[in-house]
């Protein structure tokens, strides 16, 4: 449009070189990892992900995997919680663990000169967490306080209710962070059992980025992960889809603005239609200021500060969901505008120029997601976790560039179907 008229328009420069050159590592003890050697900054970032997460929480004990993640650095081996934390802090080693629906993972950042100490502490945290009673109670108190703190937060309430409605009766419908009742019921035995079940050497994907050579890294990985036993076996998570399309749900909260969550079917990352669905999502509500929803909801009508959509890719479910927040009086209008844009995409699709611009953005910006060692490590471990292959980083931009209008139509049919959405609003919405 206007852009084509400016004298500054240029052919987008697609980064031809792959944004990160990873190499496979196989250690003496049989641990596999992806490695990017980058000697400029004297630090190393390590990321790892174990298969199986909050969806494996025992019945009535939702929040167990997240509590496990928070307890791994609360004392391990001969070190109590305080001693363990002191060893980390004394060398500015940053170690953290987190749990999502399908995985429990972690991140380790260290200065090169403290790599040995960092690896030793990681090995202890993974294989020999203590689960001391005082640490369990302290973490339980923190988790419950956090749940209380968020109890009437409209964004958190809307999201929780959305998942509960979309995946009613399914493990994905339960909150990964748990509920006060469920977290109160978690025992040390639950945590020990889940640790044995999830943290197995066969189930882990690892990526390392930074100023460390392959040989040294292999030795470190054997020390960090070699002592783990095989995982204890995961419960199968039944495949599911977003339910209750067309339903409107209100979470009553006395606030002047409603947070709105809306969603529909989606396409998983491992699915061959994922890239077309991803391009389509960018056009509808992706991260740039140019998306249709940003233009229609925010720019033209001033309905909201933030609006957008993203793809959720769980192991056994996929969905497209979106977010916005508008004053209660304008909720009806906001939801209609969003719905109209989706229906317009169903009816007409994007035009060729819009599709081309989306592809230009997605290919051009891919490298920007690889600008720190930590980000590179996390991208690699995600790609490994999804089973996309180490060459995915090199292939990815070509996959985006080759998306056709036919691909978009196919992805649109799978995503939007007849255009019905599940909508949850937390607030006192009018006109929903």
């Amino acid at each position: 449009m206007n852009f084509a008229d400016t004298d500054l328009a240029e052919t987008p420069v697609r980064t031809k070189a792959s944004p990160a050159k990873a190499l496979p590592i196989q250690t003496a003890a049989g641990i596999e990892a992806w490695h990017v050697e980058s000697p400029v900054v004297p630090m190393i970032a390590l990321a790892f992900t174990f298969e199986g997460g909050a969806a494996q929480d025992p019945e009535g004990k939702s929040g167990c995997a997240q509590m496990l993640a928070r307890l791994l650095d609360e004392g391990a081996g001969d070190l109590g919680s305080d001693a363990f934390q002191e060893r980390l802090a004394a060398r500015a080693i940053e170690l953290s663990f987190h749990a999502g629906p399908d995985a429990i993972g972690g991140s380790l950042k260290m200065l090169v000169k403290h790599a040995d100490e960092a690896i030793d502490l990681l090995a202890l945290a993974l294989a020999k967490p203590r689960f001391d009673a005082d640490a369990i109670e302290r973490v339980r108190g923190q988790v419950i306080a956090g749940l209380r703190y968020q109890q009437n937060d409209p964004g958190v309430m809307a999201s929780r209710r959305f998942f509960a409605e979309a995946f009613a009766g399914h493990a994905y419908g339960r909150p990964s962070s748990g509920t006060i009742e469920a977290v109160s019921a978690i025992t040390r035995d639950d945590l020990v059992a889940m640790h044995a079940q999830l943290l197995g050497r066969g189930a882990v994907k690892i990526a390392a980025v930074g100023a460390i050579g392959a040989e040294q890294l292999a030795k470190s990985l054997d020390r960090a992960f070699g002592a783990l036993s095989e995982a204890g076996g995961l419960r199968a998570i039944e495949r599911t889809t977003v339910g209750d399309l067309g339903k409107r749900v209100v979470v009553d909260l006395d606030v002047p603005q409603s947070v709105i969550r809306f969603g529909m079917a989606g396409v998983a990352w491992r699915d061959p239609d994922f890239i077309p669905a991803y391009v389509l999502n960018h056009i509808l509500g992706g991260g740039a200021f140019t998306s249709r929803l940003f233009q229609e909801v925010r720019e033209k009508r001033g309905l909201a500060y933030s609006v957008g959509t993203s793809l959720v890719s769980h192991r056994s479910a996929a969905m497209t969901w979106g977010y916005t927040a508008t004053k209660n009086e304008r909720v009806g209008e906001a939801v209609s505008v969003i719905s109209d844009e989706i229906n317009r995409l169903i009816a007409d699709g994007p035009d060729d120029e819009e599709l081309q611009k989306a592809k230009d953005y997605l290919t051009g910006s891919y490298a920007l997601g690889f600008d720190t060692s930590t980000k590179i490590a996390h991208q690699l471990v995600q790609i490994a976790f999804e089973g996309l292959g180490m060459d995915y980083i090199e292939r990815r931009n070509a996959l985006v560039s080759s998306v056709t209008q036919e691909d978009i139509r196919r992805a649109g049919a799978r995503t939007f179907a007849d255009g019905r959405m599940l909508v949850v609003a937390a607030g006192r919405p009018i006109g929903l």
Partner: protein, 466 residues
């Protein structure tokens, strides 16, 4: 267009440890290590300052333009105008109609955004190195070429009102933070929220925005920061061909800032809301900043915040969470990067069944003993190690480096001060920490805030009944 807020760290991070609470500042969150990247700087003929931070690891650049004006420079009665103008800067110029710049950025696979703080406003793009000249041309054009029509101003004001509803009007803890800042700063505009007060945002219009724009958006008031795969010569050549053509105003606009009087009164306040299920305790102290305590007092406070409240090996966490069990979390932070006197915060989240009064009494008891109990050699060394390591970690991120230099220069620090920051931190002694603690963390300099549940939203004195 995100509002850059540094008022309070997240009280409950999504997972893991509370490790990042030690130090919250608008700028020097981990600075470049001395001997790190060879940063160079120069000034164009029209007064524009330029900083170049080399990072040749990938063929990308971060292009930022910083203006030396923020919410604390909003005219009286027009709170929020700096932030509102930041939004309106995306509305097009005579040369490039609304949306053209954003379309160009996204068409090139770039990313863009902007933020407003108390002392500065900044705009940035991240693009492939070959597109730097395009970004400079657009950004130089909107330094003086902005065109505003009521048709775009009105919906954007609604966007800002929604932003305020999202951040503050629906969140009692944000309301507490606003009330505490308003109480801490009895005279200085740091007591006014960056986004502005609701009733004043509602009245902002096109003329207010243009008046403000003409006053502050000039080459001599701006700092260009380019980090990435470029050389200083290249940047100079490109900057001269773009920004260099913007006519200067003759002098940098003057910021008029009142000084806080010496505080005398201990202040207490509460936000009581029926939505609050988890009470919290917050404390602010009025302290010098990196500019008002340029002699090193600022480094004492930065290190003190880390020793007292930086993560789970800190003094407050150990005393209140690990030992007495009265709190589930506790920490401290210091917003050192500020032109004028600033805030130092201590916070604690009570354990179940512990009243805020009891927790506050314990916080005070523990803080009184800090000079003698908290400042052992190991704790000081650990805190120094953590702060200095941040400088290495942040040099892994091109955009962090650009932000560190940009924000430092925008408040009047020098590149040399940024570079010698690790050495300055290393040089802080136990005696200096004790002096800082005794001098600044005193009742008469403080505001204490309670976030509590109210059964009746009109009864904020529920605090007394607890």
């Amino acid at each position: 267009m995100h509002l850059f807020r540094k008022a309070t760290p997240t009280l409950f991070p999504a997972g893991g440890r509370f490790a990042s609470a030690g130090r919250v500042e608008a700028a020097p969150f981990g600075r470049s290590e001395a001997g790190g990247p060879e940063v160079s700087s120069f000034t164009l003929d029209n007064g524009l300052d330029v900083v170049v931070v080399p990072d040749h690891r990938a063929p990308v650049v971060t292009h930022m333009i910083w203006y030396r004006n923020g919410s604390a420079d909003d005219p009286l009665g027009r709170s929020g105008i700096a932030h509102f103008l930041e939004h309106l800067m995306f509305k097009g110029t005579e040369k490039h109609p609304v949306g053209a710049f954003s379309k160009a950025v996204s068409g090139l696979g770039g990313q863009e955004n902007a933020f407003t703080s108390y002392d500065y406003t900044a705009y940035f793009q991240r693009v492939a190195r070959d597109n730097l000249d395009t970004m400079m041309a657009f950004e130089a054009d909107r330094m003086t070429g902005l065109v505003l029509e009521d048709a775009v101003v009105a919906p954007e004001r609604d966007v800002v009102l929604e932003e305020r509803r999202m951040r503050v009007e629906t969140d009692p803890s944000a309301q507490l933070s606003e009330a505490m800042a308003a109480s801490l700063f009895v005279h200085h505009p740091y007591g006014i929220p960056i986004i502005g007060w609701m009733h004043e945002i509602e009245e902002l219009n096109r003329n207010h925005a243009l008046d403000y724009y003409k006053r502050f958006y000039t080459p001599e008031n701006a700092i260009l920061v380019v980090a990435g795969d470029v050389t200083p010569d290249e940047v100079r050549r490109l900057a001269e061909a773009t920004y260099g053509r913007v006519a200067p105003q003759g002098a940098r606009p003057v910021r008029v800032r009142p000084r806080e009087p010496e505080p005398k009164a201990l202040r207490r306040l509460a936000v009581a809301d029926p939505k609050v299920e988890q009470p919290t305790l917050q404390r602010l102290y009025l302290t010098p900043s990196c500019i008002t305590a340029r002699d090193g007092g600022c480094h004492d406070l930065e290190l003190l915040a880390e020793v007292l409240g930086g993560g789970s090996t800190s003094y407050l966490y150990r005393k209140l969470v690990m030992e007495s069990g009265l709190a589930v979390n506790a920490g401290a932070w210091y917003m050192g990067s500020a032109i004028d006197d600033t805030r130092f915060s201590v916070y604690a989240i009570p354990a179940e069944g512990v009243s805020l009064e009891k927790l506050e009494a314990e916080v005070d008891r523990v803080l009184r003993r800090a000079p003698s109990e908290a400042l052992n050699a190991e704790a000081i060394e650990r805190a120094k190690t953590r702060l200095v390591a941040e400088t290495v970690y942040s040099s892994d991120s091109q955009s962090s480096l650009a932000r560190i230099y940009g924000s430092a220069l925008a408040i009047g620090e020098t590149i040399e001060e940024v570079r010698r920051w690790p050495a300055d931190i290393e040089g802080v002694t136990r005696e200096r920490l004790a002096t800082a603690s005794e001098r600044w963390l005193t009742p008469s300099r403080s505001v204490t805030g309670y976030l509590v549940k109210a059964s009746d939203p009109d009864a904020p004195m529920a605090i007394a009944a607890e």
